[in-house]
């Protein structure tokens, strides 16, 4: 009997452990920022946080600032000054200043990966504006939930195939990888909409080295297997809607010169035409436009020695590892790339094609 009672008491004591909490801060004492801005001022990091706070029946977006030698120190300063504890658990977007991106994101990104309080899934964005300006303006146009910026990059919300979508872990991979670089979307505060897209930044080893336009970003997304569905391509004689795209790539290395052949199969549906247009003309034109654009991207990649398309990946089975190490500097500039575009006009809409 005594034993039973003792074990019952013991079991009920275990209930205390169930909460799993230690020094826990309740949710009403936490500030949960959704967006963070990072810039650099001299040797100090400048960190801005957008924190949605519930007031009465709606949410108010609060903008707080902090400065420190490291990003964490800046966040810590904010946490110290604020009445609640800053918890980065729900952070969704990190906005970097362009100047900082050009200087290099290596330290901050590695810091995020190391400390783990900022998830590796956070989306990375670069802004053309001065960062304080950007946050102030976007705070005004932002919907009260405070997640507008995130929604712009969410695949089932406002994302569009012309926007690069890059997460912290991908930038981290680019810092170390031999054959893979990334592009980060560049935005600025808009007048009517919250943000405007300005193409993407080419990031090489964690440092911004150049930029590509929105169209070129689309190509990059298509190449890496993201769907380009919904993009309207306008040419002189017609505009078409891209329905699907497939890439077939083959690669070889002859005499230390990499050769690559890329065949794009594009399915389009016709939207608008001008007079005297026929299918052949549209195909020809589309082919010309795309080839030109592809070549332009390749030229930029060669000039910056940055592999945003991840072409080096195709040579991983052709080159030994110690050669892959020099992929960006030795092989990429010598790459001979050949694009071939095949267009399939899947349908012509309700109207017959004029013949």
């Amino acid at each position: 009997m005594l034993k039973k009672a003792a074990s019952l008491i013991l079991i009920s004591l275990f209930a205390g452990m169930l909460s799993g909490c230690w020094d826990n801060r309740d949710i009403n004492h936490r500030a949960l920022p959704v967006t963070m801005g990072v810039s650099m001022k001299g040797d100090n990091y400048n960190v801005l946080l957008l924190i949605p706070e519930p007031v009465e029946n709606t949410t108010r977006i609060r903008l707080v600032k902090g400065e420190g030698k490291t990003v964490t120190e800046a966040i810590d300063t904010i946490s110290r000054d604020m009445e609640s504890f800053v918890d980065m658990l729900h952070m969704k977007v990190v906005v970097f200043d362009k100047a900082l991106a050009e200087r290099g994101l290596m330290d901050s990104i590695s810091g995020f990966m190391r400390a783990r309080d900022i998830s590796p899934k956070v989306i990375v964005v670069i802004t053309d504006d001065e960062i304080n300006q950007f946050f102030k303006r976007s705070q005004k146009t932002m919907a009260p939930e405070g997640t507008t910026l995130y929604d712009c990059f969410e695949k089932d919300a406002g994302w569009n195939p012309e926007i690069a979508l890059t997460r912290v872990w991908e930038v981290y991979r680019s810092i170390h990888s031999y054959t893979r670089d990334v592009a980060i979307p560049i935005i600025q505060a808009g007048t009517k909409t919250m943000i405007e897209h300005n193409g993407s930044a080419i990031i090489k080893n964690g440092r911004m080295v150049g930029r590509i336009s929105s169209e070129e970003t689309l190509l990059m997304n298509a190449f890496s297997g993201e769907s380009s569905y919904g993009k309207v391509e306008v040419m002189n004689h017609a505009s078409v809607l891209i329905v699907s795209n497939t890439f077939r790539n083959s690669s070889k290395v002859v005499d230390r010169t990499p050769y690559m052949n890329s065949k794009i199969i594009l399915k389009v549906s016709l939207l608008e035409t001008r007079e005297n247009t026929n299918a052949d003309l549209i195909r020809e034109e589309l082919e010309k436009v795309l080839t030109l654009r592809c070549d332009a991207v390749i030229e930029k990649m060669k000039a910056n020695e940055a592999d945003v398309l991840g072409l080096g990946q195709f040579f991983r089975n052709k080159l030994p590892r110690n050669e892959l190490q020099h992929w960006r500097t030795e092989y990429l500039p010598r790459l001979k790339m050949n694009f071939e575009v095949r267009t399939i006009i899947q349908n012509e809409g309700n109207l017959k094609m004029p013949s």
């Binding site: 799993g20 230690w22 783990r116 997460r167 170390h176 990888s177 991983r316 089975n317």
Partner: protein, 358 residues
């Protein structure tokens, strides 16, 4: 009674339990390319050792290794069981300490280590106090509860895989044989096999079915190391402490209400580990009861207090890594001598039997 199911489940759970933490890092840092070679070497050694061990045990139906060794004499017990017991206790210490550390890194950042370790040791003691039979039975329940979760998480970790990172495939570089991390990777291969020798009186099993389950687990050894490699590439994966956990962290599943899958994955694996540690503790107690009657009935308490104290005395990760290496050396000794000695003893007793009957 044939209860292969219990033994197989225990085998699968314990190996899944610790292959996703330190093992991927060990494999990745053991060589620059062609990681399948060290993994394959590990798997073959693993298979051979288990086969030898079970072959040896099959000469002694219904007996566990303590009975076998004590029959063979004091020297044999001291030579083989002594290191094994030391290894088991050391392994428990390192696993408790390392896993608590991982938990603080991943999600319990405010909780002091001693509290996490105390809870873990408490659970482990409770499991061990119930004895071997209960442990094997609860294995089935835990498998039913957590194995589906682990499998879903495991397959979702393929999300960001880029298969081209598989290359370069071929390697002429066998320098991994001289690297420390290669031998440390045997943590995953050699950690759990000893229990097969303790299952016997209560749970007899068919060794063929155990071998089949070993073959089923082998792909996981490959994938645990290759999923991070294929996601990040070697150059990046090599900079990570727990490559698999980070890979899991980077998985983005839109329709799932949980933002961080890692926590569920870790907690499920934690259940496997707790069970396995309970089993290990029970084994250590069995050995100490037989050879150290000094403690009378306080073996469980004595060993757990020692474990907890040692865990508390480890201040930093560097010491854990040092311990890891010492244990790795001890493990290789246990890994090689125990199965072979059991096989030799088995062959000898068989020879005697034949002579007697002749």
């Amino acid at each position: 009674m044939n209860k292969s199911m219990h033994v197989i489940t225990m085998y699968i759970l314990s190996h899944l339990g610790f292959m996703f933490f330190v093992y991927p890092d060990n494999v990745i840092s053991s060589t620059e390319e062609g990681h399948w070679v060290p993994i394959l070497v590990g798997c073959i050694v693993h298979l051979l050792v288990i086969w030898t061990y079970m072959k040896g045990l099959s000469y002694f139906p219904g007996k566990n290794i303590i009975e076998i060794y004590s029959k063979a004499g004091r020297i044999a017990s001291l030579l083989f069981l002594g290191p094994a017991a030391l290894y088991i206790v050391g392994m428990i210490i390192v696993m408790i300490r390392a896993f608590s550390e991982i938990m603080t890194i991943v999600f319990l950042s405010n909780t002091p280590l001693w509290a996490i370790m105390a809870v873990k040791i408490g659970i482990m003691i409770y499991i061990a106090s119930k004895g071997g039979e209960a442990i094997f039975r609860i294995g089935i329940l835990i498998a039913l509860l957590f194995l589906p979760v682990v499998m879903i998480m495991f397959f979702s970790s393929f999300q960001n895989v880029d298969w081209r990172y598989l290359f370069p495939l071929l390697t002429k570089d066998f320098s991994f044989l001289t690297r420390r991390s290669f031998y440390e990777s045997f943590f995953a291969f050699g950690g759990g096999f000893l229990f097969l020798g303790f299952a016997q009186p209560h749970f007899s099993y068919s060794s063929k079915r155990v071998l089949i389950s070993v073959l089923c687990v082998i792909p996981f050894f490959f994938l645990a190391a290759y999923v991070p490699l294929l996601t990040f590439g070697h150059a990046t994966a090599n900079t990570l402490h727990y490559p698999y956990i980070v890979t899991m962290d980077s998985v983005h599943v839109n329709w799932l209400m949980f933002d961080r899958l890692t926590m569920f994955f870790l907690l499920s694996l934690d259940a496997f580990l707790m069970l396995f540690l309970g089993l290990m503790l029970w084994m250590a107690i069995c050995i100490s009861k037989r050879y150290l009657p000094l403690f009378k009935s306080y073996h469980l308490g004595a060993i757990s207090i020692i474990i907890f104290c040692v865990c508390l005395m480890i201040p930093e990760w560097e010491v854990v890594e040092k311990l890891f290496w010492w244990i790795a050396v001890l493990r290789i000794y246990v890994f090689l001598t125990v199965p072979i000695s059991i096989l030799l003893l088995g062959l000898r007793s068989k020879g005697k039997g034949i002579r007697k009957s002749a």
